[in-house]
Amino acid sequence: MELFTPESGLIFWMLIVFLTVLFVLWKFAWPSITKAIANREKYINDSVKAADEAFSKLETIKEERNAILTKAREEQNAQFKEVQVLKEKLIEDAKNEARAEADKLIADARKSILAEKEQALKEVRNQVALLSIGIAGRVLRKNLESDKSQMELVDQILDEMDTQKN
């Protein structure tokens, strides 16, 4: 029966066509296709792996960042406190120094006032002495001829006054 007897002409053409297709695809298509698919598969796998790694790295980075932040905040607090203390101390020191300076100034002033007072008193005494001599001289010109005896008298009188005063 015709159905079951393979025709030689058809076998001939089938051989040519099939082997040509096989050759062309073997040479130009399948290697590049399978290679490309394998490459892409590898690329995707690598990318997924890289993404996973990046993700986990990101997690650690986040943790590190948090740690750094907490530490920085603590340090900031500590520094703040330190600065506070320092500030108080500075203010205290400044106050003390100012007080000391003021005290010194007052003391100096007092001293110089005292010295000047002494001086003034001396001068006043001298003036008084001279004045007194002048006055007494006029009074006693006739009584006391020599200046020396006059001065002795005045000094004596003045010393008496001093001792009285003291």
Binding site: E2, L3, F4, T5, P6, E7, S8, G9, L10, I11, F12, W13, M14, L15, V17, F18, T20, V21, L22, V24, L25, W26, F28, A29, W30, P31, S32, I33, T34, A36, I37, N39, R40, Y43
Partner: protein, 367 residues
């Protein structure tokens, strides 16, 4: 369904609405090959001839018949006469039993429907015939299609190596990956890379040929993969792939299999069976694909033939039967779609398994 029934009813009863009928007829023609309608009324309808005529090869590509004129694509006849050398001419020269340059298409056995040469002494002989028949033409179309599809996939990767192809090429890529990873890799084993180009080509070649056979009109419709000449060539290729590269273990398993010695020594029963198996494997491949595809084409034609058989008894009966016949033919066509893929898959799978057996690792010693 209603559309088809209306169409068939009109076709059977009258030719009143010709314009509408042509539109509906086209629908049916594209769905199923029912183009023997007119003949049924003129001469006695021969279902055997009708069915076999559609599944066997022919010298021209018949499309349809409108009125008295046959509509078919003429193909190239290439024959070598016994004494006169090569001839190549248009197959339309041999239409209606005409004789051209001493050649004609025989209408009697043993060379029925084949080009024969009439020698001067009236003797009829078969010349060497490598005509581009319907099957060869279909084969060339399918081969071009396979080349085009696979090469465009390869070109896609050349252009965008890391980009997955979309659309149609994406589907093809899916099939390639499926066949490679699920069939070739596990079945062939370690050196699958050496065989995968052959097996992938085999799969796509069979698949495209099968699917083109489902299209009832021109570029398809030829029963290519349901032809022994086609399947035998592929079976021989697989046979060579198995046996040319079979390793020591494979040949040892054939001539000295691990069975009780009395099965091998005085009378080599097992070696004989194994040797026989070398040939039955590819023959099984050949026959399986051939029979499945032939049956698929035949069953569609048988349903169509039923319409004309019952139509010849009574037009009303023919109409009634046509509803069921077309319904079942459509159903069978869907089933065939499945069979087309499965048969291509099975041929590739079994080729892979047989190749894998010829490349197997030495048996592990049992403890």
């Amino acid at each position: 369904m209603r559309l088809i029934r209306n169409n068939v009813q009109k076709k059977m009863s009258s030719n009143k609405y010709i314009g509408l009928e042509i539109v509906l007829l086209l629908l049916v023609v594209f769905l199923l090959p029912v183009h023997a309608g007119e003949t049924a009324e003129k001469k006695a309808f021969n279902p055997g001839e009708f069915v076999v005529g559609h599944v066997t090869d022919s010298y021209s590509w018949h499309i349809t018949k409108s009125g008295e004129t046959e509509l078919s694509i003429p193909l190239l006849v290439i024959v070598k006469s016994q004494d006169r050398g090569w001839f190549a001419f248009n197959s339309s020269k041999l239409n209606e039993g005409a004789t051209y340059q001493g050649f004609k298409i025989a209408d009697t056995d043993p060379y029925r429907n084949k080009v024969v040469e009439i020698l001067p002494n009236e003797e009829i002989v078969r010349p060497t015939d490598i005509s581009i028949t319907k099957d060869v033409a279909s084969l060339l179309i399918c081969a071009t299609l396979v080349l085009w599809i696979v090469l465009s996939l390869a070109r896609h990767y050349k252009k965008a190596p890391m980009k997955a192809p979309g659309g149609f090429l994406g589907a093809i890529e899916f099939v390639v990956i499926f066949i490679q990873d699920e069939v070739i890799k596990p079945c062939v084993g370690n050196d699958y890379k050496r065989y995968s180009p052959y097996l992938l080509t085999l799969f796509f070649f069979i698949l495209i040929n099968n699917l083109m056979g489902l299209i009832p009109v021109f570029p398809g419709g030829a029963n290519v993969s349901g032809n022994l000449a086609i399947t035998s060539v592929m079976a021989v290729c697989t046979f060579l792939a198995i046996n040319l590269f079979g390793n020591k273990e494979y040949w040892k398993d054939i001539f000295w299999p691990e069975v009780p010695t009395w099965l091998k020594v005085p009378l080599p029963i097992m070696p004989f069976l194994e040797l026989f198996g070398i040939f039955t494997k590819p023959i099984a491949l050949m026959v399986r694909l051939f029979a499945n595809m032939l049956a698929g084409h035949m069953i569609a034609m048988v349903f169509m033939a039923m319409i004309f058989i019952f139509g010849a008894i009574s037009p009303l009966l023919g109409t009634g039967v046509s509803v069921f016949a077309i319904f079942f033919a459509i159903f069978m066509n869907f089933l065939e779609l499945l069979v087309c893929v499965i048969q291509a898959y099975v041929f590739t799978l079994l080729s892979s398994v047989f190749i894998g057996l010829s490349r197997m690792e030495p048996h592990k010693k049992e403890i």
